[in-house]
């Protein structure tokens, strides 16, 4: 299991103390004591000591193998089990997966409660009537309805105990009218959703050939929620970007190398061409040439630096080649990657903890510093000697690795060269390293800073590279201190370690800076554009720094030129000043006030621009987010964020991501979708209404805790606009229809009861009733749930605004649900009263036979089957042979059933014995009544739909009409124009 979401190598070392124990025999007398912390969930630290032979040695994560780790590059290890079972870090981290239900289902539950209320109501009304009639069966000792023998009866009909009988009747009635509650709805919905998920999984347009990964709906109960997404919260790395890092530029000794053009720069150039056509030509040429360059150079994964000045070993001719040499050496040594030599080709690939690191080592290799072997204590390089320009083998003794952490934002190694020089090699974030430079090491600080800001603007990740030589004495002193810190068992060991490391990482000499491109995934800008047109708000939550985040925002079209930016951050002089005083409380207070003020400013800015069509983008960093998410401010922050078109939260931690998600979800009550690929997104994915995991390179952790897994961000478009919309529509329709058909059927019982003294006698044969929800009406509604399409996939993508039907929940609004229920009520009334009034007393055949209980049951039931199935036929507008087969097949099956059932011996078929063949079918009256009832019961709905489609069309109606009239070429904007009066209120449309 990849706890941190990264499937890459982690270096683990045995303690020097125990390194000599290499075979089984040596463990014969092994006796040691391990003292360590209690079980906890922190994956990134372990504190303990091992006493062995009277010596103490510190244990850290370096010596820990977490549960489920796999050994690589090592055949076997000896180890001691420290924690098992629920004490392991894996189990300590495991949270119960949240149980998610879609909004539609939650509303459906409410409807069921309402129906249950109705059921109880009509049952009790029935019981009251029953009580009255039963009580009167014996009046003054005289039998009233003597044919019921009220004098000698069971408790169910006993006039002397009428109240008890009425109560028992109430229970009977609950069963009898139970058809109002569509119990089979739950079963059908589950089935439909599973089938829908299969269709999602099978969709070829969401299949990613490169990794052989189709889309995967991991839960099936959120399909329709996909059609109601209001806000998307997206991770950046690995989600919007591919997480393949390419080394594209570097700045060494104040000179910038690398001529490639990044995706971001290209997007910006494209925008410029679009905005200023007059400068277009030159830029287009530039674009073309850069494309050509990229195309021509041989592609090496992770390396895309094209600059003739330093390629192919030519850097030795550069004026500052010493600095370049040191720069490359840092790249080649300051990392934790492991070389993997392919025995056949001799080629070396690297396994590194992060893709940037791999990019560095590859770059060093390409420029002549090939790192080829790592042992516990030594690193081996093939180096290009700048003096004789030959490759030489050199080894470096690795003394210490001061690892990267998000707090330190830097990594250093201390190595001893072959000529016994001690070197500290560092790389880290610019904000950190520039503060640690020695005075003489700042030679080209200004130029480097300039370059870094350029790189950042181009959407590149930058790191600053620096080094320093250490004196023997200084090192010894420090090494001792560091060792002590390492072996201490104190709770604040990590802080002490950091502080100790801090002491040596000073007075550095600047070498230069690296720039790595984080490539955007294919089709991301187009996809985001589509989603924005569909009225979906997109927030980016990233751990990156503000500049990078803003640039990615521009690159993927989330931020546009001409958009007003509101930036909330704590990087202002006032806060800096307070920070320098060092009073934490003061700082917190000042920061809080500052954020509150900035939010206020933003809101007033928004208000002042209310009338103008300018859009706003909100950018906020992690530190500020901490305050903005605090109790007092979260509402005003949310208010501000919601009025902005796009929101970018940078430098945010996994926990903040989850908090923001919760804020949006709870604060607005709208449906949120979180999309991410890494373990740091798990919190967010679980918190959101829907979590979509990208099955990318960063392991499966996110995909495992997601509800849907896709291979590429751009598939989100199809997942939401096509499948989401369809599923939403299908489920909404299906539920409405289900209520309709059960009410239409269930209420006929009530009407019949009114004419049967509320005695609890059902109007139909038991088997008709039992099969109603199983054979005669279930398959068409399942076909509706699985196959119905209001518009084709192509048109759903063409008119993204259609998606708003789901967001605004127009197809499952209370008015619509109640409308369908009312329709069911009307149908039941028409079915019952038209049938009974047509054949009350008179003969219904030419041979004088009159209606009886059995014939009325069959006639009414035939009408019910016809009506609900034809209702289905006129409410869907997508007929494949499947729909035809199920709808007409259900009706045909009813006739088939009644014929076969009618031919069974009368003791089995009871009231259905030959009822169709002998009594009903020869009577023209029977068929005429069926026709009349079916058409009359459908006219109300048909009329409503006809007028609504014509005079108050919904968006999908407009699209359908224009399609049927061949006006497909119509642009979405024109359609929107027509739809203005429709039930959709259209929010943001930029077209």
């Amino acid at each position: 299991m990849n706890l941190d979401g990264e499937t890459n190598l982690k270096l683990k070392h045995a303690l020097n103390l125990t390194a000599s124990l290499r075979d089984d025999d040596s463990f014969k007398h092994f006796k040691a004591v391990i003292k360590c912390e209690d079980p906890n969930e922190d994956l990134y630290s372990f504190v303990g000591t091992l006493s062995y032979h009277g010596q103490q040695s510190p244990l850290s994560l370096q010596q820990m193998l977490l549960r489920d780790s796999k050994l690589r590059n090592t055949e076997y290890v000896y180890g001691v089990v420290v924690f098992t079972g629920h004490d392991t870090k894996v189990m300590q981290n495991a949270t119960d997966p949240p149980s998610k239900r879609s909004k539609i289902e939650r509303r459906m539950d409410k409807i069921i409660y309402i129906l249950f209320g109705v059921l109880i109501l009509i049952s009790s009304v029935g019981s009251v009537f029953f009580w009255l009639s039963t009580r009167n069966d014996i009046r003054n000792g005289e039998l009233d309805r003597w044919y019921l023998r009220p004098d000698d009866t069971t408790v169910l009909f006993d006039p002397k105990r009428a109240l008890l009988a009425a109560f028992l009747h109430f229970l009977t009635a609950l069963m009898l009218y139970g058809y109002l509650i569509p119990i089979s709805l739950y079963v059908s919905i589950e089935l439909v959703k599973v089938l829908q998920s299969i269709f999602i999984n099978k969709d070829q347009e969401m299949y990613y050939e490169e990794t052989d990964k189709p889309a995967h709906a991991r839960t099936s109960n959120l399909n329709e929620e996909l059609g109601q997404i209001d806000t998307i919260l997206s991770d950046k790395t690995g989600t919007l970007t591919c997480n393949s890092m390419e080394f594209v530029k570097c700045s060494i000794a104040g000179v910038s190398y690398g001529r490639g053009m990044t995706e971001v720069e290209r997007a910006r150039a494209m925008r410029k061409i679009y905005e200023h056509p007059e400068v277009g030509d030159s830029l287009t040429n530039l674009l073309k040439t850069s494309d050509a360059e990229v195309g021509s150079s041989k592609s090496i994964k992770g390396f895309n630096l094209s600059d003739e000045r330093i390629m192919d070993g030519k850097w030795v001719r550069e004026p500052n080649r010493d600095i370049i040499e040191n720069f490359l050496r840092v790249l080649a040594l300051c990392h934790t990657a492991i070389p993997d030599v392919n025995k056949e080709s001799g080629k070396i690939s690297y396994e590194a903890e992060s893709p940037d690191e791999a990019a560095f080592v590859i770059t060093a290799r390409e420029l002549g510093f090939e790192f080829y072997e790592r042992t516990q204590t030594r690193l081996f390089l093939h180096e290009l000697d700048p003096l004789n320009r030959r490759m030489v083998n050199r080894s470096y003794e690795l003394l210490h690795v001061l690892e990267f952490s998000s707090a330190r934002k830097r990594m250093s190694v201390i190595v001893k060269t072959e000529d016994n020089k001690l070197m500290l090699l560092s790389k880290g974030a610019d904000s950190i390293i520039f503060g640690r430079l020695s005075d003489e090491g700042r030679g080209f600080e200004a130029e480097t800073k300039e370059h870094i800001s350029q790189y950042s603007e181009a959407g590149l990740r930058t790191l600053v590279v620096a080094y320093r030589e250490l004196g023997e004495k200084e090192y010894k002193l420090w090494a001792h201190e560091f060792f002590n810190a390492k072996t201490s068992l104190a709770a604040d060991r990590d802080e002490v370690l950091d502080a100790t490391a801090d002491k040596i990482e000073r007075n550095l000499i600047l070498l230069g800076a690296t720039a790595v491109e984080d490539k955007l995934q294919k089709g991301v800008p187009e996809c985001i554009d589509k989603l924005a047109k569909a009225g979906i708000k997109i927030w980016i939550l990233t751990g990156d720094k503000m500049e990078t985040a803003i640039n990615i925002g521009y690159a993927c079209g989330l931020l546009r030129q001409g958009m007003e930016r509101i930036v909330i951050s704590l990087d202002n002089p006032h806060i800096d000043a307070v920070e320098k005083q060092g009073d934490k409380e003061m700082l917190a207070k000042a920061s809080g006030e500052s954020i509150a003020r900035q939010i206020q400013d933003g809101r007033s800015q928004l208000r002042s621009f209310k009338e103008s069509p300018i859009d706003f983008g909100l950018i906020i960093d992690g530190k500020s987010l901490n305050f903005a998410l605090s109790d007092g401010l979260e509402h005003s922050f949310l208010g501000l964020a919601l009025s902005c078109v796009s929101v970018i939260c940078c430098r945010s931690s996994p926990k903040q991501k989850a908090l923001v998600t919760r804020l949006v979800k709870v604060g607005t009550g709208s449906t949120t979708l979180a999309i991410g690929d890494g373990a740091n997104d798990v919190g967010m994915l679980q918190e959101a209404d829907i979590g979509v995991g990208i099955t990318g390179v960063e392991g499966m952790q996110a995909a495992m805790s997601s509800d849907f897994a896709i291979a590429q961000f751009c598939y989100l478009e199809r997942l939401l606009l096509v499948h989401g919309h369809w599923c939403y529509r299908r489920i909404a329709m299906m539920i409405c229809y289900f209520f309709y058909k059960n009410i239409a059927f269930g209420l006929t019982f009530l009407w019949f009861e009114a004419y049967a003294s509320f005695s609890g006698q059902a109007a139909y044969n038991d088997w008709y009733m039992a099969f109603y929800n199983v054979f005669f009406t279930s398959l068409p509604v399942i076909a509706l749930g699985v196959f119905d399409q209001d518009v084709s996939a192509r048109l759903s993508l063409k008119y993204p605004l259609l998606y708003q039907e789901g967001v605004q929940n127009t197809l499952f609004s209370w008015s619509r649900i109640l409308g369908w229920m009312f329709n069911g009520f009307i149908s039941s009334v028409i079915i019952f009263y038209f049938t009974t009034n047509s054949i009350t007393l008179q003969a219904f055949r030419s041979d004088g036979h009159v209606l009886d209980y059995e014939i009325l049951g069959v006639t009414m039931y035939t009408c019910v089957v016809w009506v609900v199935n034809c209702q289905m036929a006129i409410s869907i507008n997508y007929f494949t042979w499947i729909q035809h087969f199920f709808i007409w097949g259900s009706i045909a099956f009813w006739y088939l059933f009644i014929i076969i059932y009618g031919y069974l011996p009368p003791t089995i078929s009871t009231t259905a014995y030959k009822v169709l063949v002998e009594a009903c079918a020869p009577s023209p009256f029977f068929w005429l009544v069926t026709l009349l009832v079916v058409v009359s019961a459908l006219v109300p709905y048909f009329t409503y739909r006809a007028f609504q489609t014509r005079f108050h069309p919904m968006y999908h109606d407009i699209i359908q009409i224009s399609r049927s009239e061949g006006r497909e070429k119509m642009s979405p904007a024109e359609l929107t124009e027509q739809g203005k009066d429709g039930s959709i209120s259209i929010t943001h449309i930029e077209d």
Binding site: L148, F199, L841, Q842, A843, S846, P906, P924, L932
Partner: protein, 335 residues
Amino acid sequence: MASEERSSLSAGVESHRAPVRSGWKKAVHQFKQQNLPACKPVLTPAWVITTYFLIGVLFIPIGFISLRASMGVVEIVDRYDTECVPNSYKSDKVAYVKDMSVSKNCTRYLKVKKRMKAPIYVYYELDNYYQNHRRYVKSRNEQQLLHGLRYNSTSSCRPLELNKGLPIVPCGLVAWSLFNDSYSFSRGAEKLNVNRKNIAWQSDRDHKFGKKVHPFNFQNGTLIGGGKLDSRIPLSDQEDLIVWMRTAALPSFRKLYGRIEEDLDEDDVVIVNLLNNYNTYSFGGKKKIVLSTSSWLGGRNNFLGMTYILVGASSMFIALVFLLLHVKSSRLPAM
């Protein structure tokens, strides 16, 4: 509009791919990609108006035809339950009907208003009589009706299952409450024959009531319900019983009594001699005697025809309103 190109491109890829596949594979592919050929009807104004118009064109004639059939039926209905009680008993009709010593004979005169062609069906009509009451409907035993005494688990018939320890055939409330008014008809001095054969469903006679099952221990209890049965005649020939046991759907119902197989002319007076035995007085039900001819559609009831005409006419009306509104509003000029 880049993505638009993309989507149309992908659609192009689909259609390009499709011909390579065999028919079955193509169908499966289309199915999986939810891309099956489909008919997609849309409620365009033309369709709406055509539909309403068609309903109108179809329904109004059907309505008139049915109405004509129904109007052609001649029906004489006579309520006799109040009239056939002697004046002395008017205040306590229940006592009258329960009193075995009082003669139940009664004579009614029915005037034929319009010529009635044979066969003329004779019905009795009861009102406020809940044959569809749950207790009543269940109180019978199909097996016993078919197999008689050979079948003896008849608990559903309680309290009319046993009498003096012996089983009752036919058991249950339905049989026990058998209607027992009887009618005889004459026109002037000439007696009108009433054919009382073939008034029950063929299937009931053949398959639900046993040919060898004779009434046994029937109406021997302390409380006599309705009519008695001749124990010499097997159940399958007791057509009165069979008709009665086919329970009615609604509390007002008619049941076939017999057929008069002679034409009745206008202004004929039919004299009905009846025995007013059956007790509908305790629950306030009405009793009627009905003479009716029949058409291809059955008896006289204008509801069906009227409703057809009504629905057809309103369809036409809606079509007109729709058309007017459609022409008036210019929001969708394309139609």
